[in-house]
């Protein structure tokens, strides 16, 4: 069965925030609300310095802590592995915001609902590809089915030995090349 995931190659990300704005636009978010946040990492000291920007967003974990703690079961996982929020059930208790170790859940000011990256889910399908992948100027993002070995994402994961950010925390489905 399909298991959607994403690969983010921080060796190509130039930190231009296009994905953040495109995501805000397509999800109808206000300017202060963003499903993607950016951690700037500096390693080493002058002059041997390695600096990178790491975009962090919902990892659509298979053992999603937010889904586990959500009392109203507003957070659910589709059979294709995409973690979504049923806006009709969420009471805004923010338990999922506390449980998410990546801190990527955002309260939508207009409705009080706690939302996150939805892989641009629309009418039963994720974005083809999601808007952040579509607008990435340096091609640092690949989206696809992790269960399909022929898919571009699986081959790229194999080629670059991409790993989730912190495999000990959750079974994340976003693989990073760093």
């Amino acid at each position: 069965m399909t298991r959607y995931g994403m690969l983010i190659n921080t060796k190509k990300c130039v930190g231009c925030y296009a994905c953040r704005i495109a995501c805000q636009m397509v999800n109808g978010l206000d300017h202060e609300e963003a499903f993607i946040k950016f951690d700037e990492v500096e390693q080493g000291t002058y002059p041997n310095v390695y600096a990178e920007v790491v975009p962090v967003q919902c990892m659509h974990c298979e053992d999603a802590p937010c889904e586990a703690v959500c009392p109203t079961h507003a957070t659910y996982t589709t059979d294709s592995g995409v973690v979504l929020v049923d806006e009709g059930k969420c009471i805004g208790c923010k338990y999922c915001m506390a449980a998410c170790p990546y801190g990527v859940r955002v309260q939508i000011e207009q409705t009080g609902v706690i939302e996150k990256c939805r892989f641009c889910w629309y009418e039963g399908e994720p974005g083809n590809p999601p808007r952040c992948v579509n607008t990435c100027v340096s091609g640092a993002r690949i989206f696809g089915d992790l269960d399909d070995p022929e898919s571009e994402i699986c081959q790229e994961i194999a080629r670059t030995n991409a790993q989730p950010l912190a495999s000990d925390l959750t079974a994340a489905k976003i693989y990073y090349v760093r």
Binding site: K12, V14, G15, C16, A18, I21, Y46
Partner: protein, 734 residues
């Protein structure tokens, strides 16, 4: 103001806003439609969705974009797949600037400045009439040479502003280049006869960036091609005091003292010549002046270079040898504004040295080297319909004093000097915020105050508009039609900016409508008897396509220019690559490509200050856009960068507030302490510190670098020396 309306039945003296007599039946109807009912009903009926192609106005790349509208309102924006610059993607600015049409920060009607400096709305007719009268007055008293226009070229802007000014008899047409890349392009022009070149990334083995960052000054296609080259294992060297956002693709970072890139390049040239690593065949057949250059370069040993630019001698030798090994599939990248676009006293010479090193490597026109490509030219249009404008007699102000400036751009600082000494009395600005960005704002305000007439055409009340007598509002990019945009390179294209949404504010006009209005008011209307559609169609016909074809497709590929690798024809007076240039000699500079020091040498305790672009902003234009402003605020992008070791010495921690001061100004800003910067250097992003109270989200947010820069013009070229300054920093005890 408001003309009197039909009287309302409600109360005879009351004025009505809504015209027409309301249908009494509908008024009395029960169960009128509430918002929630209307939204629900709209949910089912899929609205009228239309797609339109246009060109983004976020920066000068003018990437192709596809906008989707619903019921006439903008819904989503995406990159245009077929456009060579966007290739289906759109950077942050592209999404942000699409919001301009509906923004609350926009100019919506012409404004006129009162004596006390405040602005009041004025009708278009009155504005045109008053401006026309003032122009006639200036023409009568001082002649056409006293008029000038400064514009940041956009498809319609560059045609109409030139035509308007030439129709009035003045040759004073300038672009923004003097604050952008004038020195670089003039230098490349003197050496190669072309004003720019590009690196053949798909085949390159090694590329050296001098201060340029594809990751900050973003054009999606260049980021993609660099990513491709890095994937293929090309060596990417970044020569920059700051490890910029292109560092992610770099194999090595060469931190250098600001303003001394010329020394590093001459050191490399020395190694290539001294160790006989240069391309003899190219040098003998296709260049002039090599012997004089070789003699001069002999003294620029790596050891000497290390003393000037603080890059270790063996790094210079290693770089030279690596380049020689990779030649000809290697190149020094032409850069844009950062290091030698308009930065130091030696920017022009640095550009020439860059070309000289490429010549020594023999990479001109080679695979993986430096390519000079052609651009499509518009044929002649029917003079009956589009009357010829007579060539102005007088030479452009500033050309005499700055002969090396590109003829196509001139140096707009000649307008500043012209206003001061009275030779220029009437100035027009189109799509240009000269006051805030082209030189020190105080100096611009002082000069413009002396002019008799200053008119600014813009979408928002910028600092330049504040210094003007009249401000004419243009409609934003998605609401207007512009002339075709011709795109050069290995392949030729033509794209079109078509209106995608109806005009939000009826009182705003597009660039062509404004210039036609101005022309008629100034008595030269006879040169504008056409609409922008007619001219566009005529221009497109000369290159074998039509307005409807391009409007439909958004972009059309033109006849294949038949680009081939191989040494290009150098369009220089000597038809060869010029290590020495007669024109440079006439301008009183050393004709042979050599060393020129930087003007300001920071003393002990002082810092060099360098500027640079950020991926979400375009010079001083986009800071008030809420989508982009929110990012700058959330990630504190207005901060001054300081090297960790300097911060430790001064007892400054990350996030502290410091006072930055130079001979010209001082201001307070938060600090970002980082290892990505050479000690002794400070970096300030060049988008902040707006002083216009009309731009509420931008005013007072961060510092404007140009406030700190003394006004210097580069000799013979005339570009603003935007980084010739020494600054001091002091921690602010709160």
């Amino acid at each position: 103001m408001q003309e009197k309306e039909a009287l309302m039945r409600c109360n005879p003296t009351r004025r009505t806003f809504l015209k027409g007599t309301a249908a009494t039946a509908a008024l009395a109807a029960v169960g009128t439609c509430s918002v929630t009912a209307w939204q629900a009903e709209r949910a089912e009926a899929a609205g009228a969705k239309t797609q339109g192609a246009s060109l983004c106005n976020g920066c000068s790349s003018k990437c192709g974009l596809v906008a989707t509208t619903l019921d006439g309102r903008l819904w989503t924006v995406e990159g245009m797949e077929a456009h060579p610059y966007s290739k289906g993607t759109l950077c942050g600015r592209g999404h942000g600037t699409a919001q301009w049409a509906y923004s609350d920060g926009r100019l919506t009607q012409p404004m006129k400045r009162a004596e006390d400096g405040s602005f009041a709305p004025i009708s278009w007719d009155d504005a045109f009439a008053e401006i026309g009268a003032k122009v006639q007055e200036i023409l009568a008293e001082a002649g056409p040479e006293a008029l000038a226009i400064v514009q940041d070229p956009r498809p319609s802007g560059k045609y109409y502003s030139k035509r308007f000014m030439n129709a009035l008899g003045s040759a004073n047409v300038y672009t923004h280049a003097a604050a952008c890349n004038l020195s670089k392009e003039s230098g490349i022009q003197e050496a190669t006869g072309a004003s720019n070149y590009s690196v053949d990334f798909p085949n390159t083995k090694m590329v050296v960036f001098i201060g340029r960052s594809y990751g900050d000054g973003i054009r999606p296609s260049s980021v993609k091609s660099l990513a491709g080259a890095a994937d293929k294992g090309a060596r990417v060297v970044i020569v920059d005091p700051r490890l910029n956002n292109t560092g992610i693709f770099a194999t090595d970072w060469v931190p250098i003292k600001p303003g001394t890139d010329i020394a590093l390049l001459l050191g490399i040239a020395n190694v290539l010549v001294a160790n006989d690593l240069y391309d003899h065949e190219f040098v003998e057949q296709f260049t002039v002046g090599f012997p004089e250059f070789a003699a001069q370069v002999a003294e620029y040993t790596p050891a000497w270079a290390e003393g000037v630019c603080d890059v270790p001698a063996d790094t210079i030798v290693e770089l030279a040898e690596a380049l020689a090994a990779a030649a000809p599939a290697c190149a020094i990248e032409p850069s844009w504004r950062a290091a030698f676009g308009c930065a130091y006293q030696n920017s022009f010479e640095t550009a020439r040295v860059v070309c000289a090193v490429n010549a020594l490597l023999g990479c001109w026109g080679q695979k993986g080297g430096a390519l000079i490509t052609s651009s499509p030219k518009v044929g002649d249009v029917d003079p009956a319909k589009f009357p010829e404008v007579p060539k102005p007699t007088a030479k452009r102000v500033g050309d005499a004093e700055f002969p090396l400036a590109l003829s196509g751009t001139g140096t707009n600082l000649a307008v500043l000097n012209g206003c001061n000494d009275g030779t220029v009395q009437g100035v027009f600005f189109y799509n240009s915020n000269a006051v805030q960005g082209y030189a020190q704002p105080a100096k611009w305000r002082e000069a413009l105050a002396k002019a008799k007439l200053v008119v600014t055409i813009d979408v928002q009340m910028s600092e330049t508009a504040l210094a003007s007598d009249y401000v004419l509002p243009e409609c934003t990019v998605l609401e207007r039609m512009e002339l075709p945009e011709f795109i050069g390179g290995k392949k030729h294209y033509v794209a079109l900016r078509t209106p995608v949404i109806d005009r939000v504010h009826p009182e705003t006009k597009s660039c062509d409508e404004i210039f036609v209005g101005l022309a008629e008011a100034c008595g030269v209307g006879q040169y504008f008897p056409f609409t922008v559609e007619e001219l566009a169609d005529a221009q497109l016909a000369t290159v074998g396509t039509s307005l409807d074809a391009v409007r439909e497709a958004g972009i059309v590929e033109l006849a294949d220019p038949g680009f081939q690798f191989g040494t290009p024809a150098f369009k220089t007076p000597t038809e060869k690559f010029q290590f020495t240039s007669a024109k440079v000699a006439e301008a009183g500079l050393n004709p042979v490509i050599g060393y020129v020091p930087r003007l300001v040498e920071p003393a002990a305790g002082e810092f060099s200050l360098i500027g640079g672009k950020q991926g979400i902003h375009s010079h001083t234009m986009t800071l008030n856009l809420e989508a982009l402003n929110a990012i700058s605020r959330e990630y504190q992008l207005e901060r001054l960068w300081m090297a960790a070791s300097d911060a430790a010495e001064l007892g400054i921690a990350d996030g502290d507030t410091v006072e930055l001061s130079s001979s010209e100004a001082s201001g307070r800003v938060a600090v970002k302490v980082t290892e990505r910067l050479k000690p002794g250097v400070l970096f300030l992003p060049t988008h902040y510190g707006s002083t216009s109270p009309y731009l509420t989200r931008a005013q007072g947010f961060g510092l404007n670098m140009m406030d700190f820069i003394p006004l210097h013009l580069e000799p013979a070229v005339g570009s603003t020396m935007s980084q010739e300054v020494a600054v001091t920093v002091r921690k602010v005890e709160d």
